[in-house]
């Protein structure tokens, strides 16, 4: 009888633990992209060189190849396009049936007259074309890139009913090591701002110290953000600062003592959440962002647990829930909670565990549409980017490869992500989207790039 009871206990426990799944291997779930052909620029009376015009076209091609919806064909890919390239004319008739037979859906015609670049988007199925407002180019590609990105977003809006993300800006840090004789090396990182494709990078800070977690402060009234928040070690302990773009010095955000790390701003631009060890361990705090000229508000402790490290809060779009990382159950995992109101007791806070598949989960980021969380997790000993889908309740691995990937951040379209990845000695920023899970590197050069952050939706 006793043997039978022992056997039953053993069987039940094995059955229970046998449900633990092995490490998941990513399935390729690429969604077919809509094929588009962009004609060479038909040039008339233009002082802009053929080389510049082709460079401008390449900027447009990059945008169309990385918007998560279209892919551009080369002329050699189909016989119809091959015959077309020799007789390309902005206003001429097209061999629609041939193009349709070759699977082409849209053709984008480009014409340069002087400095004016015109664009017509032709639907092969409908056999009609729509002209998009022309743009004026200066011949300076670094300045003209913004206008070409606007053109790409306008094409996106025409095809899909909403603007693309080609005109959006990103922030990240660039870190350097400074060797010092007979002393510990010094590490310095500064904040850089760039176009979403990594071009036009400009340094925003000159603090000569470590900086982490730069992020735009959402602007009200449909304007682009002109302020950013970051964490700086300039006085010693890491503290949060807000600065206007291209201003010299930032101003403090919180009067809370001790370390202030891994901040996140609410989508409405009114609150900041962060981790601080003011109470003797790394807990999560919430505070209104200070209004200019006003006294700094008081922060409120919103999550703590004995003997734990808690970090990386991220707000839901409605500002009522928060995802964050805690090691309260051993290895750091991602949890979601309702943001507790004033007077809530710590013991009454309920957590929903999000990351169940992998260990060492970190840096969650809530998508602007509220439907997904992106985070990094150790997968077969390599940190990868994972996505949790609130609608299905499932996690899926987005990236693969041996580079160590961290700090995912969403674009305002909830489709694109940036993250930093370390491969060998270099750490760079990569761009990816959920429909095309092959990441593309958008930074290069000296210094290690970390903590990318995307410009939020305009409010």
């Amino acid at each position: 009888m006793k043997l039978l009871i022992s056997f039953c206990l053993l069987f039940c426990q094995i059955a229970l633990f046998a449900q633990e799944e092995k490490i998941f291997v990513q399935l390729d779930t690429e969604i077919p992209m809509i094929p588009v052909y962009v004609t060479p620029i038909q040039s008339q009376e233009s002082a802009l060189t053929a080389t510049f015009q082709e460079q401008a076209r390449q900027v447009l091609l990059f945008d169309l190849n990385h918007n998560g919806h279209t892919r551009t064909l080369t002329a050699n890919e189909t016989s119809a396009l091959l015959s077309l390239k020799d007789q390309a004319s902005f206003d001429s008739e097209l061999p629609f049936q041939k193009l349709k037979n070759d699977g082409l859906l849209y053709l984008i015609k480009l014409k340069m007259l002087g400095n004016e670049l015109s664009c017509k988007v032709v639907s092969v199925n409908a056999q009609t074309g729509t002209t998009i407002d022309h743009i004026m180019l200066s011949g300076d590609l670094s300045k003209d890139r913004a206008k070409i990105h606007q053109l790409a977003d306008a094409i996106h809006k025409l095809l899909f009913g909403k603007s693309g993300i080609a005109t959006s800006r990103i922030l990240y840090t660039v870190k350097h090591k400074i060797e010092r004789p007979k002393q510990e090396a010094k590490y310095i990182s500064e904040v850089f701002m760039a176009d979403y494709d990594g071009y036009n990078a400009r340094q925003l800070t000159s603090e000569g110290t470590l900086i982490t977690h730069p992020m735009f402060v959402p602007a009200l009234g449909g304007k682009s953000s002109n302020a950013f928040l970051y964490v700086s070690y300039k006085i010693g302990q890491p503290k949060m600062y807000i600065n206007q773009l291209f201003n010299k010095n930032g101003t403090r955000v919180s009067k809370i003592r001790a370390n202030q790390v891994t901040p996140s701003i609410s989508p409405n631009g009114l609150f900041v959440a962060f981790s601080s060890d003011v109470a003797g361990r790394a807990d999560i705090f919430l505070q209104p962002l200070p209004a200019q000229g006003n006294e700094m508000p008081t922060a409120r402790q919103i999550f703590t647990a004995k003997g734990t490290a808690n970090a990386s809060p991220t707000f839901s779009p409605d500002g009522k829930r928060m995802a964050f990382v805690s090691d309260k159950d051993g290895s750091p995992k991602v949890y979601v909670m309702q943001i507790p109101g004033q007077g809530t007791k710590a013991k009454d806070i309920k957590l929903q565990l999000i990351s169940k598949r992998c260990r060492e989960n970190s840096a969650p980021c809530w998508s602007p549409d509220g439907k997904k969380l992106a985070y990094c997790a150790k997968t077969n000993d390599v940190r990868q980017i994972w996505i949790y889908d609130f609608e299905t309740g499932k996690e899926r691995q987005l990236t693969k490869g041996h580079a160590i990937k961290e700090n995912p951040t969403w674009a305002s379209d909830s489709l694109h992500l940036l993250f930093n990845a370390k491969e060998g000695q270099a750490t760079e920023i990569y761009l990816i989207n959920l429909n095309q899970p092959k990441a593309v590197k958008i930074t290069s050069g000296a210094g290690e790039k970390f903590f990318p952050s995307w410009e939020p939706k305009q409010l």
Partner: protein, 232 residues
Amino acid sequence: MKRFLVQFALSLCVLQLTTSCQRSSDDVWNDTQSAGRHVARGVKTAFGYHGESREINSGDEFDAASGASNPDFVAFDDEAMRVGASDSILQARETPGEAGSSIPGIEAFRDPALDPELAEIFKHVHFDYNSSLVKGQENLTIIVAMSEWLKNHPNVYIFVEGHCDSRGPAAYNLALGANRSNAIRNLMIKEGVVYDRVFTISYGKERPLVEGEGEEIWTANRRGQFKVYEKN
């Protein structure tokens, strides 16, 4: 009954072997540590041990212990989570380098490793992977020695830096680094160092002592490190 207990224990061993084959040895050790922590807390509670009393050294600490609100933050009101509970000691009100502070910022603090006498006292304290527990006699001896020296030099302030190795994620490591520096700070305060002379900085994995990979390098980087400032 004895035979039943033996059979039950054997079945647990088989179970451990069966499930541990699906996980790495690090995973098994981490889970075993977690289970141990939960069991230890349960045993302590069962025997009525809920925390330890300690001397209050300042008005800030009294406010925290009594549950009065602190102007720079509002804490949870739970008895168990109250600031001043055994595993968490409130940080000093003054922040070195802040406007109005009598203590300068980090640039005025020096590395004791550059002074042969201080280097022997302010040695690095090392941690296990993914842990902020101060373990081992060697680490405790360092903390006791530092604390004694600081008690004999009451005009010296100290930054305790918490560092991590390169393997963990950058963001989480900033919190882990904070907990490591607080673990050292807590022990120094328990050794009698006045709490508002000890400050914490978390660097996470942002400032490795040694670059590269491998057990020796990782161990060297998982450290508590110190900077001191002597006020005249």
